[in-house]
């Protein structure tokens, strides 16, 4: 169940130290274009406010 998986994933990532706000989950129907735009706008604002993610990053050099 996606729902239960995301609930536990969000909680677990937050527990190990990855900000809970970076794990975002919601439902958008293919017919809800307007809602989709709103969701993405909200997510972008949220992430911008937090700044770049510095955790679990692999440098390929």
């Amino acid at each position: 169940m996606a729902r239960r998986k995301f609930a536990t994933l969000k909680s677990f990532l937050n527990y190990i130290g990855v900000e809970g706000d970076r794990t975002i989950f919601t439902w958008v129907s293919a017919s809800e274009g307007d809602r989709w735009a709103q969701v993405i706008k909200g997510v972008t604002e949220k992430v911008k406010a937090m700044g770049p993610a510095g955790k679990l990053i692999k440098n390929l050099n």
């Binding site: 994933l9 909680s11 679990l56």
Partner: protein, 336 residues
């Protein structure tokens, strides 16, 4: 414990003689003092090797799965009418039966393919903890007598109280007696201290985010990717582990810190509703990574969010396989 050991041997002998089981998985005396090691018994006269004491560490459900899978693979090229059924007998304490329940619920094998000899458990000794308790000295010989472990070591005689050197998972164990069994050897052991099981997790949750991340990084730096935790875990039975898959490659095989973190993160997360807190991964880890701190959180979430404890009953299905419309919280859903 002597009494249980004698009964256990009789029971194993009877099962093999009556052909109720083809092989019995149990513990025998280890090669080092104060240890026990898993063993496979196929002949009735070998049953006297079996031991049951506070040094029996590993979760034997892993071997049940391995043996049954190997047997099924060997039967693939045999005509269906000639296929033989194999029954695996297993000496099981509380956590082992929980793992067996998980296997049964995940349809890994049938209930008739495994014969469970239930034994009461009052915890096992954490080998690393015992060594630390006696200042890192090498144990030459030792015996357990009335709750005290008496040892001859490289630095003279030492003693340790059994209750102090039990593994962390045993100290707060909720299910130390078998949940399901075909035959029970001995009477139920007294309860441990389950009320304190999440104390460590709660303490860690209260720390600031960056401190938690720093701890995670520090623990993962110890990991050398030997995969012992995965090999020992009864819930880790995929034919091809995501670590070894190359198409797609989920996680790098190198020594980059992020690869180690992602490997551990994914293995830990696969334990939602499946970790029985048997402590096998912790006890086999050669680098002493504090895996339990993270696994216990997963257990706590499963319990608090879905009211489910992994493998605690045959009827209670795995939490990630169902959904409760009325009780599941929706506070994690992003809804602008």
């Amino acid at each position: 414990m002597e009494n249980i050991e004698t009964k256990l041997r009789e029971e194993a002998k009877r099962l093999l003689l009556e052909k109720k089981a083809d092989v019995i998985i149990g513990y025998e005396k280890g090669t080092l003092p104060l240890t026990a090691t898993p063993c496979f018994i196929t002949a009735p006269e070998e049953a006297d090797k079996l031991v049951w004491n506070n040094f029996c560490t590993q979760n034997l459900a892993k071997y049940v799965h391995d043996l049954i899978t190997a047997h099924k693979n060997s039967q693939k090229r045999v005509k269906p009418e000639d296929r033989k059924k194999k029954v695996i007998g297993v000496v099981a304490r509380g956590c082992t039966t929980r793992s067996l329940i998980i296997h049964l619920q995940e349809r890994q094998y049938g209930r008739d393919e495994v014969y469970i000899i239930g034994v009461p458990c009052d915890g096992y000794v954490d080998g690393k903890g015992l060594k630390a308790a006696i200042g890192g000295a090498d144990i030459v010989d030792g015996s357990l007598d009335g709750g005290q472990i008496k040892m001859k070591t490289s630095e003279g005689d030492k003693t340790a109280a059994l209750k102090d050197v039990l593994a962390d998972c045993c100290k707060t164990c909720r299910f130390n007696n078998p949940i399901i069994s075909d035959v029970m050897v001995g009477s139920n052991a007294p309860a441990m201290n389950p009320d304190a099981e999440y104390d460590e997790v709660k303490e860690f949750e209260a720390k600031p985010l960056e401190e938690r991340w720093a701890y995670f990084i520090k623990e993962m730096e110890k990991c050398m990717r030997c995969n012992a935790c995965r090999q020992a875990c009864p819930s880790c039975y995929c034919p091809t582990c995501f670590v070894e898959q190359s198409q797609p490659q989920w996680v790098g095989i190198g020594e980059d810190p992020s690869d180690t973190q992602v490997f551990q993160l994914m293995r830990l997360y696969h334990m939602v509703g499946r970790c029985v807190d048997c402590g096998s991964c912790v006890s086999v880890c050669p680098m002493g990574v504090d895996l339990r701190k993270f696994l216990k959180k997963i257990d706590k979430d499963g319990c608090e969010m879905f009211g489910s404890r992994a493998g605690s009953s045959m009827e209670d299905m795995p939490p990630l396989g169902k959904y409760d419309e009325h009780h599941d919280k929706g506070d994690f859903v992003y809804n602008p």
